[in-house]
Structure formats: structure tokens, C-alpha cells
């Protein structure tokens, strides 16, 4: 009998973050193969909706409740999680590859002397050994590497958010919720003084349409065309390739791809983006993709549902005009 599969749920601004439910879908596939339990660790304060974590697939929820767990602090989180994981001895610990997961997981792994693989896009169990097979893009997405942790436990991994849909919610599903009230009385060396919420109207990861620009736009000023069109498309946001972020046409927060954000909107519109794997890794799970590029051989066309070989600078102004006419 192997140890459990554990996911580290995520709480943002007092609510359970959807990545938690995605993690349960990842974890379920593994725990079923290993014939073991799937548990969720949730850290927070005054949280509601813990039963949903069961409904989305957890067999057991360990809810650590304390006022100091209301916001993410790697030191306080580690103080609670390190001894718990050491005693529980899970086989596998998963977290989201978010700013939180990418901080707490390596921090914990450093303390626990545990192997950790970042940003996995696929997870599986090796049949004869029961070991976790962790697959991730490497070297700008040019290759995929499968990695395992052969001789130490737990095997830890972060997975890309929005890389997988949650399981269907089953309100009849049963499970146990254990509330743990930890003593946290040390003085943390990290303290949050203030928080300023982002002002963007629609965040990239939540937008139904993402329109992204690359070097084919030729000039930084043409980025504004994307914003103008985006405004006409409702729940829409503007993305960009790494190339144009690197040359400063648009801020890093707009970067889509391996070293930026991963999105999967209803429609992704790639404008003047050739489609290096670096970029594809961040958008190829979109529900549908439109590509506009002058180069008919551009790799972006390999993932496009609608590929238009042509000059975006001719097409975009007309598209904008037509969209404006529809609004009237």
C-alpha cells in the first residue's frame, strides 16, 4: 500500500481558487492508479465551501485554520506544512504552478529534501514501480522531458494552471473534512504591509477572447490596434509574444507562453506571431485559434482552426471598422 496523493489547494483573497479543483482532477488520476486516497490540504481562515473540495474529488480535506493563514506567507505556510508532510509521508504532493505554488513548493522541497518538478503538463504513474512520471516542456518548449524521483518521497510537482479541466462536480460525493487549528506563534520575517488589487478590466486568464500580437505588427504603435479591437469584443484581453515583450512594446504581464501566462480562451487570435514552441505552450489549449501571418509556413498555422495568410496591418483596421459598425 503506497502513501497518499496530496494536493495543496490554493486560497486567494479568502476564497478557494479554481486551480484547487484542477489539482484534484490531476490527483484523482494518480490516486486511482495507485489505489490510494486523495487528500487536499487547505490553509486559510474563515473559509467557506470546503465541501466543494470533496465534491470535486477529494477523499479527505485537511483544513488548517488560523488568522495568520489568511494570506500567503511562505514562512508561515512552511511552518504548518513541513511537520505535517513529514508525519503524513504522502507519496505525491501536487500544487499549481502559480506565484504561490512556485514559491511554496521549492521552499518546502528544500526543507524536506524532496525531488520537485516544475510546470508539469502531464502526470502519470509508472506501471511496475508506481513512481510518478512528470512530463514538462524544457528549453523554450523545444522538447518535453519526463522526469521521476526514484529514491525519495514525497515526489513533488507543480502543474500548469488551466492545463486541465476539473472533474464534474458531484454534490453527493462523501468525504471527511478535518479541521486543524495549528499553533502559530513565531514571528515571521515576512510581513505583508499592503495589497493593491490589479485594475485590469478582464484578466488574461479569464478572458473569453485573447488577441495577441507579435513582431509581425512591425511597430510598437500598432499594439494599440489590438487594444482597440479587444474593447470591441466584450470579455477580451490583449496578449503578446515574448519577442515583443523583450523589445519593450508591451509589459511583461501580457506575455503568453512558457515564460509567461498560459491561457485557454474560447477564441485565441494570434496576430503576426510565428508560433515558436515557447509561445504555443501558453495558448495551444485554447478552445479555438485564429492565426494571421504573412508567412504561410509559420508554425502557428499548425495549431490554427482558421489560418489567414496575409498582412495583419491590412486586415486589423478593416476588422476594427466592421466591429465598430456592428456596435452601432
Amino acid at each position: 500500500m503506497s502513501g497518499e496523493v496530496v494536493i495543496l489547494g490554493e486560497v486567494r483573497r479568502g476564497r478557494i481558487h479554481p486551480v484547487t479543483y484542477e489539482l484534484l482532477a490531476w490527483g484523482k488520476g494518480l490516486s486511482e492508479k495507485l489505489k490510494t486516497k486523495l487528500s487536499a490540504l487547505i490553509l486559510g481562515y474563515n473559509l467557506k465551501g470546503l465541501e466543494e473540495v470533496i465534491h470535486y474529488g477529494a477523499d479527505k480535506v485537511y483544513y488548517f485554520e488560523h488568522p495568520r493563514l489568511d494570506i500567503f506567507n511562505p514562512e508561515v505556510y512552511a511552518e504548518v506544512l513541513t511537520p505535517f508532510i513529514e508525519e503524513m509521508k504522502p507519496d505525491i504532493v501536487l500544487a499549481g504552478a502559480t506565484t504561490t505554488g512556485r514559491t511554496i513548493m521549492p521552499y518546502l522541497a528544500g526543507k524536506l529534501k524532496a525531488g520537485l518538478t516544475a510546470d508539469c503538463t502531464s502526470l502519470d504513474i509508472e506501471e511496475d514501480t508506481g513512481l510518478l512520471l512528470q512530463t514538462r516542456p524544457a528549453i523554450g518548449g523545444n522538447v518535453l522531458a519526463t522526469i521521476k524521483t526514484p529514491n525519495s518521497k514525497p515526489q513533488m510537482a507543480t502543474v500548469r494552471p488551466r492545463g486541465r479541466k476539473p472533474l464534474e462536480k458531484d454534490p453527493k460525493r462523501g468525504g471527511e473534512i478535518e479541521i486543524i487549528k495549528p499553533d502559530i506563534n513565531f514571528n515571521s520575517r515576512i510581513e505583508m504591509l499592503d495589497f493593491k488589487p490589479r485594475e485590469e478590466e478582464v484578466s488574461l486568464v479569464d478572458a473569453e477572447v485573447v488577441i495577441s500580437g507579435g513582431k509581425g505588427l512591425k511597430d510598437s504603435r500598432n499594439i494599440s490596434l489590438l487594444f482597440e479591437i479587444s474593447k470591441l469584443l466584450g470579455s477580451s484581453a490583449v496578449g503578446a509574444s515574448r519577442a515583443v515583450v523583450d523589445i519593450g512594446w508591451i509589459g511583461y504581464s501580457h506575455q503568453i507562453g512558457l515564460s509567461g501566462k498560459t491561457v485557454n480562451p474560447k477564441v485565441y487570435i494570434a496576430v503576426g506571431i510565428s508560433g515558436a514552441i515557447q509561445h504555443l505552450a501558453g495558448m495551444m489549449n485554447s478552445e479555438s485559434i485564429i492565426a494571421i501571418n504573412k508567412d504561410s509556413e509559420a508554425p502557428i498555422f499548425q495549431v490554427a482552426d482558421l489560418g489567414i495568410v496575409g498582412d495583419a496591418l491590412d486586415i486589423l483596421p478593416i476588422l476594427k471598422k466592421k466591429l465598430e459598425e456592428r456596435k452601432r
Partner: protein, 264 residues
């Protein structure tokens, strides 16, 4: 105040060759450069040096083959004071745990310090794990995804951290570890004076013996993870491709596509 900046030499292009037997990169066959995201870590250290009222000594630290001395020279040319290179055949093939362990061991052997600064991640491995893992191993506090330094004195640093939801203002006691993003500001270029200084500065090299660490605990043998397979991603989704001579027609096709999916 002593500041350590971690820098890494990475392959310059995306066309990297993999040793299929070990699953590690063949680093000797491509041009190597300083990890572009580490330039922001160096820039942060230099900005702190300018805003701090007192002496600051910045040491750039790297791990890699002897050739990686180049990135430390580059760091000095930008304004760092000195460079230390961890280099030994035994260090090769390290995963993020073994890398952090080797760097942590070095840092324990060095002088007292206030701050360790890293970039967001390296552009080859793209894990971003060494900074937090190092902090975990050294029992130091860490703040990641830093976009701005607001204040620093001998006791603490105040920073802005960017998350998915917004900006956190965080105070961290020193010593500690931070990792910075591109948002920190454009890295400065090396100066002529800096380049001359870099040429005349000897890089300290720590090998296995000088580091005084067991061979089994570093490099591939000290790694907890193993690459078992490398393969090339398959891309599959082939839709309609049209050659648009008429931008009007192209615009209509896009609108039709958006209508079909309920966007318009």
C-alpha cells in the same frame, strides 16, 4: 552589507542538443550567454547599492563549467564587485535540489550577508526553483516575483511583489532571499570602466575539494530527480488555412468565426 546575486550561463539559442543517454543538455555545443533574466537580478543589486546609505559589496555567484566565468565577468562589467564560480566535474548534471544544496554549502562558507538575489528563472531549465529551494535549505525568508524595491536598511527590505491578483507590499527581515522579474526595470549595460575592471578581476573558483563537500551530495549523484525520457512535442490541430488577397474578406471570415462561437 554583502549581497549575493546568483547568475547562470545558459545556451544562447533555442536549438539545444540533448544527450539522450543522460537527458541533460550538451552545453559545450552551443554559444553560451548570461541568463537574460539574471540581468534583472544584477540590476536590482546595483539599484540597492545606489539607494542604500552605506557600503555594499555585491558578489555574483555562478555554478557551471570554467567557461561560466564569462557571465561573472559580465556581472562585474555591469557593476558587481567580485565573482565566485562553483565548478567541478562532480557538480555537473545537478537538479534544482542539488544545485541549491551546492550553492547553500558555499554560502555557509562565505562571510555574513544580508541579501541573496536571483532572477525569476533561467531560460534553459525554466524552473525558477533554485531561489526558494536555497531559502528553504538555509532557513531564510523568501519573497518571489519582486517588481520593485521600495526601501532597504540594515534590518529589513520593503518590496513590491506581483501576483495574479495584484501587488503586495512586503517587508522582509534581513538576511533573506528575493527573486525579481523583468518588471524591476531595464538592466544597465556594462561600462567601459566596468569591462576593464572585469578583465582585471580574478574569479574565485570553488571546486569539490575547496567547497569541502561529499561527492555523493552534489551533481547528478546528489540529485533527487532524474530525466528518464526526452521527446519532441507533437502539435496537432489542423484547420482551414486561406490565403487572403483581400483584407475585407479576411475580416469577414474572422467575424463569422467569432459569431459561430457566440462571441459576437
Amino acid at each position: 552589507m554583502n549581497i549575493y546575486v546568483l547568475v547562470k550561463q545558459v545556451p544562447a539559442t533555442d536549438k539545444v542538443k540533448i544527450d539522450e543517454a543522460t537527458g541533460t543538455m550538451k552545453r559545450e555545443e552551443v554559444e553560451a550567454v548570461i541568463n537574460p533574466l539574471d540581468l534583472y537580478a544584477i540590476e536590482t543589486a546595483l539599484e540597492i547599492k545606489e539607494m542604500y546609505k552605506g557600503d555594499i559589496r555585491i558578489t555574483a555567484i555562478s555554478m557551471g563549467p570554467l567557461k561560466a566565468e564569462e557571465v561573472l565577468k559580465e556581472a562585474i562589467a555591469m557593476g558587481c564587485d567580485e565573482g565566485i564560480l562553483l565548478s567541478d566535474k562532480a557538480f555537473a548534471g545537478a537538479d534544482t535540489w542539488a544545485t541549491s544544496y551546492t550553492i547553500a554549502t558555499l554560502i555557509k562558507r562565505l562571510n555574513h550577508f544580508s541579501l541573496i538575489i536571483t532572477g525569476e528563472r533561467a531560460t534553459d531549465g525554466e524552473t525558477g526553483q533554485v531561489g526558494p529551494s536555497l531559502a528553504g535549505q538555509l532557513a531564510l525568508p523568501i519573497v518571489t516575483y519582486i517588481s520593485k524595491i521600495l526601501e532597504i536598511n540594515e534590518g529589513y527590505i520593503i518590496l513590491e511583489r506581483e501576483t495574479e491578483e495584484g501587488t503586495e507590499v512586503i517587508k522582509m527581515s534581513l538576511p533573506g532571499v528575493i527573486s525579481v522579474t523583468k518588471a524591476i526595470g531595464e538592466p544597465r549595460l556594462p561600462t567601459l570602466k566596468g569591462k576593464i575592471k572585469a578583465r582585471n578581476t580574478k574569479i574565485e573558483v570553488f571546486d569539490l575539494e575547496r567547497l569541502n563537500v561529499a561527492k555523493e551530495e552534489v551533481g547528478l549523484s546528489g540529485s533527487l530527480t532524474r530525466v528518464v525520457k526526452i521527446f519532441y512535442p507533437k502539435i496537432s490541430r489542423v484547420g482551414k488555412k486561406i490565403r487572403s488577397k483581400d483584407p475585407e474578406e479576411a475580416a469577414n471570415l474572422i467575424i463569422e468565426f467569432l459569431e459561430e462561437r457566440g462571441i459576437l
